[in-house]
């Protein structure tokens, strides 16, 4: 493979560089949105599993079991096609004509978010269970109310225990975001595929994709590890 030809192909001087950067930002944006939505689902899920009544807990168990038992691609199809199925019939019910649907970004955020939410449920639940009971008891003993205790003690402690698991879920979200390309959203996967098709140099493009994802997973992995070290600052023994 001719390297200078390759750099011309993916470079910014008449190459695909700009499109690739834009696609990379789209991958990041949709992944962050999905991870954030998943965090909301995961928080509710963990809360339901930890302190819900029988029915609420059952619903949360159903959610995590189902999501972990079916392919993510199906969930994306459900939101992509099912979303338009529901929205269109809703639209017709209100007298609107034509065809409605969710855009690719929304589909990706919701579908990948709901999937990652199931994993975040488990991570957060385990994180909560890892918090020593005594620390919560001490918070009760000094007269903290529920919200104060949540804010000052529980959330920081759970985050610290959940951070490594959250890092794994994030990596998973980043990789799963490729599936959103089936909706036509131009993120890295889609852009690479378009480039490969229109230049007839698929190998270079897919290798570029590989490198881009490797960059994203490596850098974000390092960021998560840094955060972890920071959150563990109090738990190094010896110093101080």
């Amino acid at each position: 493979m001719d390297l200078s030809a390759y750099f011309h192909l993916i470079g910014f001087n008449g190459g695909w560089g700009l499109q690739l950067v834009r696609a990379g930002l789209m991958t990041l944006a949709v992944s962050i949105a999905a991870f954030g939505f998943g965090l909301v689902c995961g928080t509710f899920g963990a809360w339901a599993k930890l302190s819900g009544g029988r029915a609420v807990r059952g619903a949360a168990d159903f959610y995590t079991t189902v999501i972990r038992g079916i392919p993510d691609l199906l969930v994306i199809y459900l939101f992509y096609f099912g979303g338009s199925q529901v929205l269109t019939s809703l639209g017709h019910a209100f007298g609107a004509e034509g065809f409605f649907g969710l855009n690719g970004f929304m589909v990706g955020m919701l579908a990948v978010g709901i999937v990652s939410g199931a994993y975040q449920t488990e991570v957060l639940r385990a994180g909560y269970l890892a918090v020593p009971k005594g620390e919560i008891e001490a918070a009760r003993a000094v007269g903290m109310g529920r919200m104060l205790m949540l804010r000052r003690i529980i959330v920081p402690r759970v985050l610290r225990f959940a951070l490594p698991g959250m890092g794994n879920v994030w990596q998973q979200v980043l990789k799963e975001s490729t599936l959103i390309s089936v909706t036509g959203l131009v993120e890295i996967m889609r852009q690479i595929h378009i480039g490969a098709g229109s230049t007839r140099r698929p190998f270079e493009f897919y290798i570029t994709g590989l490198l881009l994802y490797l960059l994203l997973t490596t850098v974000s992995g390092a960021l998560f590890r840094l955060t972890e070290t920071w959150s563990l600052r109090g738990e190094r023994r010896g110093a101080g």
Binding site: P132, V142, G143
Partner: protein, 255 residues
């Protein structure tokens, strides 16, 4: 004068296990009460009932003359007013066997947490007071250390400073030295002894008989969820009237 803490007719069960069978107890200001008894006799449960860390099924609790309002919730007793409970809890200092320091906060942050966020005192004032308290328990230079960086004795002294920072009416100790290596027990007992000398109101659950005999103004022997005998430590430890108390004391002093 109203007692600082007044318990009357406290009953507590865990499932079928009736742990407290009608305990009544008053702690007046300046009293240092040691609570002794065999393992499982209900000492911790009794102490934990005072700040409502356990909810008794029957009986009443009054702190500084204010009775905790209770109600029945689904057939079980529960505090009627969570705000009242939190306010009363903030007026007591509880020291746990396992310290229970908040691991994500430094020593100083542990000490000022409740004064600033629960009692809403000015931060600067809380810090100044916390520093004085850390000085007092001998941890001034550890203010920025995290709990994991401290020895057990240092952690427990931090926990005592944390309890004192609430300006509590009374201090409650649940076996404060049981989780410590033997060589660290002394430093914690010394701090508690100083607090007793200041005339603070304290309830101490302990297995350290010599310390209890020495520091307290009254000793209570709990047996099977009931107060078997109580009185001045000189009498309880030297001339108990109950056979059970005598057997217990003999077993523990010989160790």
């Amino acid at each position: 004068m109203t007692p600082t803490i007044a318990l009357s007719g406290i009953h507590k069960r865990f499932g079928a296990n009736e742990v407290l069978k009608g305990v009544s107890l008053e702690a007046r200001e300046g009293e240092v009460i040691s609570i002794i008894g065999a393992s499982g006799s209900g000492k911790s449960t009794l102490l934990r009932c005072i700040p409502l860390l356990e909810t008794p099924e029957a009986g009443s609790i009054a702190i500084g003359g204010e009775t905790v309002r209770m109600r029945s919730k689904g057939g079980r007793a529960a505090p009627a007013d969570a705000h009242q409970v939190n306010r009363l809890r903030a007026s007591l200092g509880f020291v746990f066997q396992n310290f229970n320091l908040w691991a994500h906060m430094t020593v100083l942050q542990n000490v000022i947490e409740a004064p600033v966020h629960v009692q809403k005192r000015p931060r600067a004032e809380a810090i100044a007071e916390a520093e004085a308290l850390l000085e007092k328990v001998g941890l001034a230079e550890k203010r920025d250390a995290y709990p994991a960086q401290l020895s057990g004795g240092q952690q427990q002294r931090t926990a005592i400073a944390r309890a004192l920072a609430m300006r509590p009416r009374a201090l409650l100790f649940d076996e404060p030295t049981s989780a410590l290596d033997p060589e660290l027990v002394g430093e914690v007992l010394r701090v508690i002894r100083d607090l007793a000398a200041e005339g603070r109101t304290m309830l101490i659950v302990t297995h350290e008989m010599a310390f209890a005999a020495d520091v307290s103004t009254r000793a209570i022997f709990l047996h099977d969820g009931q107060i078997e005998e109580q009185g001045p430590p000189a009498r309880i430890f030297n001339a108990p009237t109950s056979d059970r108390t005598r057997a217990f004391i003999a077993r523990h002093l010989n160790r």
